[in-house]
């Protein structure tokens, strides 16, 4: 009856295989309807006391980053944004932060300590976050020169991803280009969510 002895443990294989497959999926990832659509415009006060509207930045590639001082993953990605700001200083590129569910004082202090000269707006009653369907921080939206959302990243942005997205958006901001950006988003997403 030795085949039986092998068969019993072998029964485990399909179960393990199924669970292993399950690990490659992330059920919490809801496909965002935003890529390809016009980014919601907003006018909001910045941490420095100015007022800023997204539509003022039309014609530039905007990296819109939702963050908070209590968000640990935001610490990890911050250096990438600082680096991007330096690297693309002469291009049509702007970093823009949105402070998510945080006090302005804490956010200001955090920004001073972490460095980075770009503005961040205060999202008083989470209106902007709700418009963009933010699930948690950090989330980052890449907006092209025509003011359309090209790509959405849930979780911290890696330097590779940041460079790749910004370079392609700076190079060819046409509507056909946008389409490939959308279809490529899924693949990038799943690879990006596994550190």
């Amino acid at each position: 009856m030795s085949w039986k002895r092998i068969l019993i443990p072998a029964a485990a294989i399909p179960i393990i295989a199924l669970l292993a497959y399950g690990l490659t999926r992330d059920p919490n990832l809801v496909e965002s309807p935003l890529p390809g659509r016009a980014a919601f415009d907003f006018v909001a006060p910045t941490l420095d006391g100015d007022t800023l509207s997204l539509s003022d930045l039309r014609g530039k590639v905007v990296v819109l980053n939702f963050w908070a001082s209590w968000c640990i993953a935001c610490i990890d990605e911050h250096a990438n944004f600082t680096e991007a700001e330096r690297r693309y200083a002469d291009d049509d590129f702007r970093m823009l932060g949105v402070v998510y569910q945080d006090t302005p004082e804490n956010a200001r202090r955090w920004m001073q300590r972490m460095g980075g000269g770009w503005p961040s707006v205060i999202d008083a009653s989470s209106r902007i976050a709700i418009d963009y369907g933010v699930y948690g921080v950090p989330e980052t939206y890449f907006i092209d020169k025509n003011g359309r959302v090209a790509f959405k990243q849930i979780g911290p942005v890696s330097w590779m991803l940041l460079r790749q997205k910004v370079d392609s958006l700076l190079a060819q901001p046409t509507s056909t280009e946008l389409k490939t950006g959308v279809s490529g988003a899924g693949a990038l997403h799943s690879s990006g969510s596994q550190p």
Binding site: I8, L19, L23, W70
Partner: protein, 675 residues
């Protein structure tokens, strides 16, 4: 500093459990008492280190030390102290730390209690438990490390998930569930050790029986408390939604329930050995599987935490446990051969077998519904979800059959029952059930499922009462005792049996509560202006006022209602919406007025900012409270059943079974022709 202490304790616990497991397994082979002692001491040491690490974490939480990664994730200066402390288990890393601590506690306790018994088995039990410890401390040392340093230190944290700081039950439900879940490692360790050592039958079965009961009580209480929590907090008026993670707690419960019945058959008849080993392995695996579902994020659920490397780690561990256990079962299949089980169809063995089949079928049904979305996505690439209708439809017939058995099982004698005895035992319960069936129908209980539940419940209670009544009657005659004294003496003499019957009564009560509350629930929504009244199901519900307020950790909007019946004031009810600083959505808090016959459940759905209107959802839920009461009865009955150990009966365990047999002549005397 805090980070270093906590992390050091985790690392030391990891290495100590590793060394201890190695020593204990070696001792299992060589019978070396020095190594056995080493393994035992390692178990105590791991528990000490685990306690140190958890105290460090609690200290960091209370001190708002945001340089500790877990505190930075779940802490907040505005969270009240109680919720700060219990946020220990409100998120991933902390809950695994809590888990590790409980596991270490179980390990140390078991190793201590049985330090002088089961000498051929205990080293392998110690080794198995410590090996499970190795896995959890490895998890904590690496992918789930809650003591990672955070720099720069954030000024404040987001606080725990708002849903988890909205009700004090959060302090009760998770620890109970963890105590149940983690405790299933102990019977597994005994089963696994018996496979390693080849000591497949014997005395230790009784130890296992106790060690499945203890976590079973916690798990039962944890599940009921979770249902209650969701009822009091989530605002939809329900208590069970077949959410994957609810299922994950229910699956090991089902298998453990099957096991604690079938283990009695093995104890009595030296049979079902392979089956029992498989059940105990399955129970443990299902707790791991449940944790895998919750902690790895492979299925969408309100409970699912985020993933990372924890999912693959768990999967690896499940694979190892599954493959090694099954291989051991296959290897030991010769020793596991059993004697034939059944003498007669009308016997308790048959009832246990049926009970086992039903519970395992139930397990498969729930398991299939839970993982079906995954299967569908893997095979057909489509996203589906399996909703409550599937689970309800599948589980109602099984549940009805199980209610039937809760009464029939205890009434059937071991081996075979004579027709005469059976007729005497069943006549009255059947007659009463038939009458009750007619009465319920006339009382307009026309929903088939609810009606059948009630009728079977009456039948089962009739049989169970008979099991108390008959021997009590015999005692009265024999000793001239009064009723209460007779029942008291009877149950005290055989706690295990009568505790078990009380558990059965509790289960029947729960079933009735579920059947009636789910079928006769009434609900409506109304938008009211202050001063306006809505009449629903006999209640006059008047909106008195609508106001907003602020508490340290949240703001809220509250509506005050006066509830009256026939013009007689009953209650002032204040459902509210809480706004937590770190959540975009308000968290509703329903107001529940609980009475034995029905609950009135008000949820504030919406309101006008100027205070001119409030929309309230009104639910009238009959008999819900009996679910919680039934849960309490189950827990008390089960505690009573295992309470023999507390009285120091443990060392005389070898005579333990005689307590069981003592009561039997009484019953046999009553039953007359029982044997």
């Amino acid at each position: 500093m805090t980070n270093t202490i906590g992390y050091l304790a985790i690392i030391l616990a990891l290495f100590l459990s590793l060394a201890g497991a190695a020593a204990a397994f070696r001792a299992a082979k060589t019978r070396s008492s020095a190594l056995t002692l080493l393994g035992r001491r390692a178990a105590y040491g791991v528990f000490g280190l685990a306690t140190l690490s958890i105290l460090t974490m609690v200290f960091a939480l209370v001190a708002h030390d945001f340089s500790v990664s877990y505190v930075a994730q779940v802490g907040s200066r505005s969270t009240p102290l109680f919720y700060t402390v219990i946020s220990l288990w409100s998120s991933l890393d902390g809950s695994i730390l809590f888990w590790g601590w409980i596991l270490a506690g179980y390990t140390a306790t078991v190793v201590y209690i049985y330090r002088d018994r089961y000498r051929e088995l205990m080293p392998a039990v110690t080794g198995t438990l410590l090996a499970v410890n190795v896995f959890f401390w490895l998890l904590l040392a690496w992918p789930a490390n809650p003591f990672q340093p955070v720099f720069p230190v954030p000024p404040d944290g987001p606080g725990p998930n708002p849903l988890l700081q909205n009700h004090p039950f959060m302090g009760l439900h998770p620890p109970l569930l963890y105590l149940g879940y983690v405790g299933m490692a102990v019977p597994f360790a005994f089963g696994f050790a018996s496979l390693i050592t080849g000591v497949v039958g014997g005395d230790w079965i009784r130890a296992v029986r106790r060690w499945i009961m203890a976590p079973w009580i916690f798990l039962t209480a944890g599940i009921v408390a979770g249902a209650w929590w969701s009822y009091e907090v989530l605002g939809w008026g329900g208590y069970w939604a077949w959410d994957p993670v609810e299922n994950a707690s229910f699956l090991p419960w089902l298998v453990a329930t099957a096991f604690l019945h079938s283990i009695m058959v093995q104890e009595r008849r030296q049979t079902l050995k392979t089956w029992n080993i498989l059940l105990v392995i399955a129970t443990f695996l299902l707790t791991l599987f449940g944790t895998f579902l919750t902690r790895s994020g492979i299925l969408a659920s309100v409970h699912a935490f985020t993933e990372g490397l924890i999912g693959p780690f768990f999967l690896g561990f499940i694979t190892v446990v599954l493959v090694v256990s099954l291989a051991l079962v296959a290897w030991r299949s010769d020793q596991l051969r059993s004697e034939p089980a059944l003498d007669s169809l009308a016997s308790r063995e048959t009832a246990f077998l049926l009970n086992n089949l039903l519970l395992v079928a139930f397990t498969f049904t729930v398991l299939l519904g839970t993982v079906y979305p995954l299967i569908a996505e893997a095979l057909r690439g489509v996203k589906v979800s399996v909703g409550a209708p599937y689970f309800n439809q599948m589980s109602i017939p099984i549940a009805l059959a199980l209610i039937f058995l809760t009464g029939v099982g205890p009434a059937l004698p071991w081996r075979r029952g004579s027709p005469d005895l059976l007729a005497r035992k069943f006549l009255w319960p059947v007659a009463v059930a038939v009458l009750a069936g007619l009465a319920f129908w006339l009382l307009d209980v026309r929903h088939l499922g609810a009606w059948a539940t009630l009728v079977l419940a009456v039948f089962a209670v009739g049989l169970l009462v008979g099991e108390f009544w008959r021997p009590a009657q015999a005692r009265r005659r024999a000793h001239g005792e009064g009723w209460s004294r007779a029942v008291l003496n009877l149950t005290a003499k055989n706690r295990r049996r009568y505790g078990g019957y009380v558990v059965h009564l509790g289960i029947v009560v729960i079933a009735v509560g579920i059947a009636l509350s789910s079928t006769y629930r009434r609900e409506r929504e109304a938008t009211l202006q202050p001063g306006e009244t809505v009449v629903f199901s006999g209640y006059q519900i008047r909106l008195d006022s609508l106001y907003a307020g602020r508490e340290p950790h949240r703001e809220f909007a509250e509506a005050a209602f006066s509830v009256a019946r026939d013009g007689r004031p009953l209650a002032r009810m204040t459902p509210r919406m809480n706004y937590y600083p770190m959540s975009t959505q308000p968290i509703g808090t329903p107001h529940v007025r609980t009475r034995p016959t029905e609950d009135l459940y008000l949820t504030l759905m919406a309101y006008a900012r100027d205070g001119s209107t409030a929309t309230v959802n009104i639910i009238v839920n009959p008999m819900v409270v009996w679910i919680w009461i039934g849960g309490g009865v189950v827990a008390l009955g089960a505690l009573f059943a295992i309470s023999t150990a507390a009285g120091g009966a443990e060392p005389t365990r070898s005579r333990g079974s005689s307590t069981e047999r003592q009561a039997e002549p009484v019953e046999a005397g009553v039953g007359g022709a029982e044997r």
